[in-house]
């Protein structure tokens, strides 16, 4: 059965691109335009195997959304450059599985998703 990835980003162009590429690779793709939207969809029954979440979006800060997504793997997408120590801190939440720096190579992103989802 195809795995489900949820792409969460306030930039619709990014969502469109990533969605198209992942669907081509055979994944089911859900989308959300903010952390709040993601949480709402998960609470309403969406069950993604992986969430690709932009680290900086309008609304509730992502760091407050992550703990509420218990049991779902999350990979950060970040345009922000952080120090190694900050990155380690951000990765401390149990469900964070990767930190992907934007802009990313789309092939690398696919490889990362495949690696995470097996």
């Amino acid at each position: 059965m195809a795995k489900t990835v949820m792409v969460v980003d306030d930039e619709r162009d990014n969502i469109t691109t990533v969605k198209a590429v992942l669907e081509k690779e055979g994944y089911n793709v859900l989308t959300a335009i903010s952390g709040d939207d993601c949480l709402k969809k998960v609470k309403a029954g969406a069950k993604p195997d992986l969430i690709l979440m932009d680290i900086m979006m309008p609304g509730t800060p992502v760091r407050e959304i992550i703990p509420k997504l218990t049991g779902i793997k999350v990979a950060y997408l970040s345009v922000v450059r952080t120090s190694e120590e900050e990155k380690e801190d951000l990765m401390k939440s149990k469900n964070i599985v990767d930190f992907i720096q934007k802009p990313f190579d789309i092939e690398d992103l696919v490889k990362t998703v495949k690696k995470i989802l097996g």
Partner: protein, 181 residues
């Protein structure tokens, strides 16, 4: 590599246009050139911790450097101020950033580095950004501080760059950008 210090010797405000591939090289070389002077560094895309890490790795003395960091608060719990850094809520909080910069300009720092115009446009529309830049440059002009504004030479932002060009004393293109064109 462009000598920013030399450009700032005869101009109070300089817009430095560069290709994205040269960005890291430019931020380091500028800091090296201005090293030892008092600098207020406004960052909109790298956290002050990551800049500190980068500059220290390159053995730069940060004793006289203060960061105005408008990005850390968006990704982690951050106080309003810490050692050598003041934090604004987000790169889109133009009024807040402007107020903090105004406070620093009163302290007559030797240099102000604005990193970068390109990032402002990710978070705000062109019109408020242009107003912000114009107001900031006016404030700089009545201070003793010299300022360098970074911008990536990307076509989508041509309009803002053109507008900013009219506000600053000089526009400098890094060599690689000149070659690209």
């Amino acid at each position: 590599m462009t000598d920013v210090k030399k450009e700032l010797a005869s101009n109070q405000t300089v817009l430095l246009l560069m290709p994205s591939t040269q960005y890291n090289e430019v931020i380091l070389s500028t800091m090296k050139k201005l090293s030892g002077k008092s600098i207020v560094y406004i960052t909109l895309n790298k956290t002050s911790d990551s800049l500190t890490e980068l500059f220290k790795k390159n053995k730069l003395n940060l004793e006289n450097v203060v960061f105005i960091d408008a990005i850390s608060k968006t990704i982690k719990k951050t106080p309003d101020q810490a050692d050598g850094a003041f934090f604004c809520s987000s790169p889109g909080a133009l009024t807040e950033i402007s107020l903090v910069i105004s406070k620093f300009l009163k302290h007559n720092f030797d240099y102000l580095i604005f990193d970068s115009l390109t990032n402002l446009l990710i978070y705000e529309k062109k019109s408020p950004v242009a107003k912000f830049i114009s107001s900031l440059i006016n404030k700089i002009k009545i201070s003793k501080t010299k300022a360098v504004f970074y911008a990536l030479g990307v076509e989508e932002q041509g309009e803002l760059i053109k507008q900013t060009s009219t506000f600053v004393d000089k526009v400098v293109q890094t060599d690689k950008l000149k070659k690209q064109k």
